[in-house]
């Protein structure tokens, strides 16, 4: 009997092998979409299927939320990529050979992220996240320009530092679990570790969590460990920027939360909440101010991702069913909106032949429909009603206010600062005298519109079934 989680992990890897063998890039793009569609279907099957806990794989309410978002955005990104990437061949930025490699790596990356999400073994989770990271490093350097190589190098150095620290933290968790669970595989199995958390060595657990926080925090993009993130977003292909912001940051956050659940189970160990609150707030406010100085549109939204990841880490640091619910909702909304924005940025970069904000003036004159869609997406991400991001941000702020009124001022301040910067930049790009070339846009607008519709629907009406599902996931988080 095949389980849905096996399909979610195996289908992308099989597809990667097949894609390596397909020479034509047009067929490759279609196969890429088909494979992502199969994975998405398996992800949906998982939602309605049974929950199970095995030695190496776990399927519970918590990771199904992540898997669903992962497979959905993977599918829409593949759709976008299929219509977008042929333009890169025409302009000579990519060769058919590198595009074949790109499609295979895209699937391998999706498979690795899904592996990290379903793994019940903390070593396996680490392997999945590391593989996904290394693949994105190669993808960021795909254009082979000096800037792309610089970005990939910096990403690689910082990511490997993060990976190493996370691995050391994983070893420490194993050591902490050894007295309770004995030697071997059980002391690396997440569900057993969580159940035995109360009997784990608190001193080692403290040290382990610090290493894991710094290690996986680097991958989440928490300040001051975020330096790789803007460069990697700006220099890689746009579909990869969408997947980086929308998915890979989430998977790293997922890993961190799994360990938070273990540490929270041992009262004698440190309380992860306050540390996460501080790191989240620092990232949020720092990134909000950094938004003002950006001249590259992809860098702008990369900093906006740091801001939103900071807000999520803050919400999960607050803890409790309501804040966790708000954090999960915000994560879903941010993934959908931010990847949608990167699709839009891809359109703009094709229309204008540049990513510099100074070169993108007057979009409303040259590409009115694109300008409207892009403006709506930026409204959504900056937290304006009636979009879903507003709902989740509002929920985070109100739950914080109900518990710690003064603390709520800080995230509210950071969000306002970021809001101002985004609207300023939006005005620069939409209005003014058009400059530079105005090419026709070939890329499909369906994925972007779809994401916007989903976020809009979530902002207006959240189905009770969805609320109940997220609530159960939030309860698991404790």
């Amino acid at each position: 009997m095949i389980h849905a989680y096996q399909v979610v992990v195996a289908a992308p890897y099989v597809a990667a092998l097949v894609l390596l063998a397909i020479p034509g890039y047009r067929i490759g793009a279609i196969a890429n979409v088909a494979a992502s569609g199969v994975t998405f279907a398996a992800g949906l099957w998982l939602v309605f299927g049974e929950r199970s806990v095995g030695d190496y794989a776990i399927v519970d309410e918590f990771n199904i939320v992540f898997i669903t978002i992962n497979t959905l955005v993977g599918f829409t990104t593949a759709l976008f990529s299929a219509s977008y990437i042929s333009h890169e061949i025409e302009t000579g930025r990519l060769t058919p050979a590198s595009l074949r490699f790109y499609h295979a790596m895209f699937q391998a990356m999706m498979g690795s992220m899904n592996l990290a999400l379903v793994a019940n073994n903390i070593g396996l989770m680490w392997v999945g996240l590391e593989l996904a990271t290394l693949i994105t490093v190669v993808m960021v350097g795909l254009y082979r320009t000096p800037q792309a190589i610089e970005a990939a190098w910096k990403y690689f150095i910082l990511a490997s530092v993060g990976i190493s620290l996370a691995f050391f933290g994983t070893i420490l968790i194993y050591l902490a679990g050894q007295p309770a669970l004995g030697e071997g595989v059980p002391a690396m199995t997440w569900s057993l570790l969580q159940a035995a958390a109360g009997r784990m060595d608190p001193a080692i657990l403290d040290l382990a969590f610090i290493f894991l926080l710094i290690g996986y925090g680097t991958k989440v993009g928490l300040a001051p460990l975020h330096a790789w993130l803007p460069d990697a977003h700006a220099e890689g292909p746009t579909p990869i920027s969408a997947v980086l912001s929308g998915l890979l940051l989430n998977v790293a956050l997922y890993a961190l939360l799994r360990f938070k659940m273990i540490v929270a189970g041992q009262p004698a160990a440190l309380d992860p909440g306050p540390i996460m609150i501080v790191m989240g707030l620092v990232s949020l406010i720092f990134a909000a101010f950094m938004l003002y100085q950006r001249r590259d549109i992809k860098r702008l939204f990369a900093y906006s991702s740091i801001e939103h990841m900071g807000l999520m880490v803050f919400a999960f640091g607050m803890g409790g069913p309501l804040a966790n619910f708000a954090g999960l909702l915000h994560m879903a909304m941010h993934s959908l909106t931010k990847s949608g924005i990167f699709f839009g940025v891809g359109h703009i970069a094709q229309a204008k032949g540049s990513q510099r904000i100074a070169d993108i003036k007057g979009l409303s004159v040259t590409h009115p429909r694109l300008a409207v869609a892009f403006a709506l997406a930026v409204f959504a991400i900056s937290g304006l009603p009636p979009f879903g991001v507003f709902a989740s941000e509002f929920l985070i702020l109100t739950t914080t206010f109900a518990r710690e009124p003064w603390l709520a001022l800080l995230p509210a301040f950071g969000l306002l600062v970021g809001f101002g910067a985004l609207l300023m930049r939006l005005q620069d790009t939409i209005f003014g005298e058009p400059v530079g070339p105005a090419h026709r846009v070939d890329a499909s607008s369906v994925p972007m519109v779809l994401h916007l519709l989903l976020v809009l629907t979530a902002g207006i009406y959240l189905p009770p079934a969805l609320v109940a599902w997220f609530r159960r996931a939030a309860e698991l988080l404790g």
Binding site: W126, W153, S164
Partner: protein, 219 residues
Amino acid sequence: MSQVYDISHLLAGVMLVTSFALLYQQRIAAVLNAFAAQSITLALAVAWAAWSENRPDLFITALIAFSLKGVVIPVALHRTVARLGIHREVEKVVGVGAALMVGLALTALAQALVVKIAQGPASQAREELALALAIILMGFLMMIVRRNAVTQIVGFMSMENGLILAATGARGMPLVVEISVAFSVLIALFVFAVFVFRIRERFDTIDIEALDRMRGDRR
């Protein structure tokens, strides 16, 4: 029993000494030799753990460490350096004296962090963890204070040596993880190789400083 720990501590200590040696070398060839020495010591330490704790699966890890990181990678990097004709001298951000002082401080930090948890029955195994942590931190230090891409690669792999030492010190840790570490070294090598050649292709140098001039926002 204590002799078992004496020997594994001795080997871990030798690895730490080679970490310091990595920091004060003046020529890239010497850095590569020091790294090879560290990897071979690691292989010995892992093999010792495999024999003394009767865990034959660890011999595979030892073999990978010896063949790949002790022989293949140093030889390949020696060749790359010779063929590319890059600077034979190590380019430093921080002088040798200062780097060694920081290295000493990091070692003390690692001891202080781990001593706190090194109590109870498994305390001797955890002391090895302190040495491993010191080696990991020294690997970071090397990545920060050395500018050339090849020396940064060596710093990274030295860090991985520390990680494998730590994984070996954690008794009974499943082989799954050790294979993955070896695997990650392979991927790392692949990625590094791609970069070294691409950087060479673009700049005729593998000096990281040349890359810093290409920062996107300063275009």
